[in-house]
Amino acid sequence: MKISSLKWAISDVGVLARRNLLALVRIPVALVFSVIQPVMFVLLFRYVFGGSIQGGVPGGYVNYLIPGILVQTTIFGAVGTAIGLSQDLQEGLIERFRALPMSRMAVLAGRTVSDVGRNLLVLVVITVVGIAVGFRPHGGIGNYLLACLIMLIFAYCLSWGFAFIGLAAPNAEAAQAMTFPLIFPLTFASGIFVQVASMPGWLQGFARNQPITQVTESVRGLMLGDIHLPMGRVLGHGNSTWVALAWSIGIMATLAPLAVRKYRKVA
């Protein structure tokens, strides 16, 4: 790729990412979806369910919960990729883009990049809300930022997979509906809200090893600092950070080409 075409490709991604973020600001409903909903989850689990859930970490369940909510929220953010692409397709905008002398990759890249921007906003909001309801991360600011980076990377890679769903779905509502059978089991049968050890045995194997639990453990470990449990087990980010990154790369490597191929074919 020539330098000038690379420069223009980056410019194209920037133009489209900016356009997506503008839309986000202008459709209050979309903002509500990405900010208010996780805040509700925080309040629900902190004050309604939280009393009867064992977090097993110092500082109580709230310290267990907030890192999990952060992970859940960034993953839900990837659903926005599917919805956004599906809408662009439905409105004929993607067709228009295809007749322009712009980079072929920019539509997908612009969308996934703008979703990182939205996730960044959501991470800040939930962190503030979390601290307001008693969340006290002791892992240090550097580790906290690292944890955010891990979440953003994982969600970014996942959004390429969701881009495929957005392009394959007949409309935005269907795109959203199609993501739920994936998102629900993965976020709820995970260590996001409850300890995997509290689940029935048959579920534990899946819950412990699936990527979202790995991301959650990494994030929680980084935010709270390593926690020594009885029987010599250490709850910490340790391996899970590497496993989470490996999942991210693996998901990206398998699903991004699928999304790109789908993008080439639709129109």
């Binding site: 503008l22 002398p101 129109a267």
Partner: protein, 330 residues
Amino acid sequence: MTENAVEIRNLVRTFRDGAVTALDGVSFDVPKGQVFGLLGPNGSGKTTIVRILSTILAPTGGSATVAGFDVVKNPDAVRRSIGLAGQYATVDQNLTGFENIYMIGRLNHLPKDVVRQRANELLAQFNLSDAGNRNVKTYSGGMRRRLDLAAALVAHPPILFLDEPTTGLDPQSRQDLWFAIESLVESGVTVLLTTQYLEEADRLAKQLVVLDKGKIIAEGTAAQLKAQLGTTVLSLTFQNLADADSALSLVRDLSDKPLNHDGTVVELTVNSGPATAAEALRRIDASGVTLAGLALREPSLDDVFLNLTGHKAEDAPAAEPVAKGRKAKR
């Protein structure tokens, strides 16, 4: 660069693994610097041609060049030479008018200050200056259309594809758009325009082709087609079916073109409207049949079809197959 802005040879496009043939061997040339009309009813393949020429869709067979570049082998060069205003105004609902043009300009890789100036210029040209900073959501259908066209012009493309640009516009907006297209052509732009309106093709297009079911069924200048068609339609309405039937034999020899008989209505395409109308009246009056109505009107696309094919332009299939990129619009 060749003499022609667009050259199409034996273009074929099928959908659904060959079950639907949208284009069935279409060939034509669009000379530079004029409006070329693509006339046809619903489903005749107009949009499919425009999509292939704008590199959105690959042809199944045949070839097409735009500005001398092959649409399959050199799509980027084609994209740099064209502006496209699709059948449905594809503007971003969440952006303002200005932002829409600006976005398309930047994606055409124009410098920021150039695009900014050009966007304001185009908004003024299309009477959108006042609405330029408003969200497109608040625009009327006609305003969206104009914005769509303005955005297509942002990079000064030498070749413009307009897919049914005036469908759904009120008469005044249609007139305005016609003037805009004419002034573009005066400045040297080539326009390929699709339409379902004979009147529009007649007014704007120097040459045109008529499509039916993916095939060209007539081509030439508007004047040639009109001569072939007759210039006026004489429409006679009767009080009942029996009257219409008996009048049919009385007036049949007044036109050598196929005659349209639909219920109580009998229509003839003729060259001299008033004279033929007078003669028809005389004959019908003498026979004692009562006439309920008589009208002279311009031939429509339906009349063109009747004359060219002997059958009426078929209505669009009730349920058009849902396909990607053309879903649920309007």
